[in-house]
């Protein structure tokens, strides 16, 4: 089993290299040079050329990429912002925990809301509760995160005055962003838990558990859900990419000083080092999360485990 884990961990290195190469490559297509953006517009051509040379912009593309990655890997140096001159790496390190907290609570909230309601929905299939929740989840799954965020802000903050509408600092600031981020994913998880549970409760081992005299609660929440949870883990992984996207938008809406806000500002100003550093960091986090989910999955599913052990014996 550890072989599988090691293989998966090693496989991530070429992927990280390739994705940074692609992002670097696309960004290099942009018109204009760094010096032209950094220096005041009345600067002479010589000054611009000199600064470009100093930044290594005159080197061939591959060499530039190599230099960038060397600095990034060795001392987390991602260059300086063209506009504020603050090192991008430093900014990312201070902002990263904020975005990670947001994404983590978003996933957690989605699971807390989506999974139990999904189970309930499956147990009460076609009853009023089920129909109502399925309808609500369809609505939520179709709604854009930022619109839900605006509605929540309008009700909880502007109308009822319960929570601060923007900024970051206390747990109170996190409630609305987390809720708006979690709702659409809760809706997805509800739908997947429901269909996975419907399949699970019709299987033999559930009947066996019942026949043994296990209480209904144990049968549903332990036996049936235990088995139904695997597809839900997968869907959490698949949705993590759009969750990061959602976090970017939500940070903008609630003015939370995370990576998303930094990135969007970078895109608006065409601040290339900022965009590059942030997208590479967020993509790397995405890959690492997928890796963790894959490994968790392998441990959780006896079929995969068995398959791998059988496979490695040959």
């Amino acid at each position: 089993m550890y072989k599988y884990v090691l293989k998966r961990v090693l496989m991530i290195i070429p992927i990280l290299l390739a994705l940074s190469f692609i992002i670097f490559g696309i960004v290099r297509l942009s018109p204009g040079t760094p010096a032209a953006a950094i220096l005041p517009s009345e600067s002479s051509q010589e000054a611009i050329d000199a600064l470009n040379k100093e930044l290594g912009y005159d080197l061939p593309y591959l060499l530039q990429y190599f230099n960038y990655m060397k600095k990034l890997v060795l001392d987390l140096d991602m260059g300086r912002s063209w506009y504020t001159d603050v090192p991008v790496g430093q900014e990312i390190i201070t902002r990263l925990p904020v975005t990670i907290a947001l994404a983590f609570f978003g996933i957690l909230g989605a699971a807390i809301l989506g999974i139990p309601i999904g189970v309930l929905s499956a147990v009460k299939q076609y009853k009023f509760v089920d129909v109502a929740f399925v309808f609500i989840s369809m609505f939520l799954a179709s709604a854009p995160v930022f619109w839900l965020g605006m509605i929540i802000m309008l009700i909880l903050s502007l109308r009822l005055g319960l929570l601060p509408s923007s900024g970051f600092g206390s747990w109170k600031h996190l409630v609305m962003p987390t809720l708006s981020l979690a709702l659409p994913y809760a809706a997805h998880e509800l739908r997947y838990t429901r269909s996975s549970m419907l399949e699970s409760i019709r299987q033999d081992f559930v009947r066996t558990a019942r026949a043994k005299g296990a209480p209904e609660k144990v049968v549903i929440w332990k036996h049936a859900l235990g088995n139904a949870l695997l597809p839900v883990i997968t869907i959490t992984g698949i949705n993590f990419g759009s969750l990061i996207g959602g976090a970017v938008v939500i940070e903008q809406l609630f003015n939370i000083p995370g990576l998303g806000l930094y990135l969007v500002k970078g895109v608006t100003l065409k601040d290339v080092p900022v965009v590059m550093g942030t997208t590479i960091t967020l993509s790397a986090i995405y890959c690492l999360t997928m890796l963790i989910i894959d490994i968790m999955y392998a441990f959780a599913d006896p079929r995969i485990k068995a398959q791998y052990i059988r496979g490695s014996n040959h």
């Binding site: 992927i15 990280l16 390739a18 994705l19 692609i22 992002i23 696309i26 960004v27 297509l29 942009s30 369809m138 609505f139 799954a141 179709s142 709604a143 854009p144 995160v145 930022f146 619109w147 605006m150 509605i151 802000m153 309008l154 502007l158 399949e199 990419g241 759009s242 990061i244 996207g245 970017v248 938008v249 903008q252 809406l253 990135l263 969007v264 970078g266 895109v267 608006t268 065409k270 290339v272 965009v275 997208t279 967020l282 993509s283 995405y286 890959c287 997928m290």
Partner: protein, 295 residues
């Protein structure tokens, strides 16, 4: 009528039957039909936008009539410049639907051939294409879109480019997996031993049988890409103002959330209705095209 014609007729008949059957199953699915009806209404609104609400009212600024609440005169109220929100939402339908539609088509233009080649040939070709797809999917879609916008700037065309590029990998995967299930079928074998060229087999025998999967994926894409596009517009990185794209309208509404909530409610509801109707239709189509999957 010679033998070949007869065979052709028979083929046509089978084909017609298949679509007939699909439509029959779809008709039974009430939620899917509801989705279809809502979607058709929006398509009609997009086509007849000028008849429903002449665009003058959507651009004419009226400083005396700012932030007006919904009334008979301004069904959805007015915005910060006194423009009629109803007119802007109606005309926004054109933007959102065409962004979703064109981005889906463009992504499929790349997704179908790449997926078909990958699935049909397998081996080395498949390996190369799929590794590329793996790498692209390791970058969250919004990151790819944001990088594209950084380089090319925010505009309607660039928005479509930004979202369709990020969608290609998913389409390649879906088409490939549909093609793989077909490659081993006997009629493909028969066609190959009859001396047919690969291109002919892919176009005449494989793709027509993968059409169901492609249609379902495309339908779902339209809905998701409309939402994604509105997200970029909301960030100020999509269709620039004063164009009435729904995400742009919502971005404008953000500042006046307290004083003029109608500015955000109506474009948002329109957006959700379109996305919801497309999701319902897509789910229904999937069930109707492949009843085996439904369970």
């Amino acid at each position: 009528m010679d033998h070949k014609d007869q065979q052709k007729n028979q083929q046509m008949h089978v084909k017609q039957n298949k679509w007939h059957e699909t439509w029959r199953r779809l008709k039974k699915n009430k939620t899917a039909i509801l989705g279809l009806v809502i979607l058709i209404v929006f398509v009609l609104v997009a086509i007849f936008a000028d008849v429903i609400a002449p665009y003058d009212k959507g651009i004419k600024m009226d400083s005396k009539n700012r932030f007006a609440n919904p009334s008979f005169q301004n069904l959805f109220g007015t915005d910060a410049y006194g423009r009629d929100v109803f007119t802007r939402v109606i005309h926004g339908t054109r933007y959102s639907l065409s962004i979703g539609f064109f981005a889906t088509i463009l992504s499929m233009i790349f997704g179908i051939p790449l997926g078909a080649i990958s699935g049909y040939y397998g081996g080395k070709v498949d390996n190369i294409i799929m590794r590329l797809v793996d790498i692209l999917t390791s970058i969250p879609a919004i990151m790819l879109s944001l990088v594209v916008v950084t380089v090319f700037g925010a505009s309607l065309v660039n928005l479509i480019i930004a979202i369709f590029i990020a969608r290609i990998p998913a389409d390649v995967r879906v088409v490939r997996s549909a093609v793989i299930t077909l490659v081993d079928q006997q009629y493909i074998e028969a066609s190959r031993s009859g001396g047919a060229r690969d291109l002919h087999i892919i176009i005449r025998h494989i793709l027509p049988n993968a059409v169901g999967t492609i249609i379902v994926q495309s339908t779902m894409n339209v809905g998701q890409l409309i939402i994604r596009a509105s997200g970029l517009s909301f960030l100020g990185l999509g269709v620039p103002t004063p164009a009435p794209e729904w995400g742009t309208l919502l971005s404008e509404a953000r500042e006046y959330l307290r004083s003029a909530p109608h500015m955000m409610i109506f474009p948002g509801v329109a957006l959700i209705l379109v996305a919801l109707s497309i999701n319902l239709l897509g789910d229904g189509l999937r069930d109707a095209l492949d009843p085996k999957l439904k369970s």
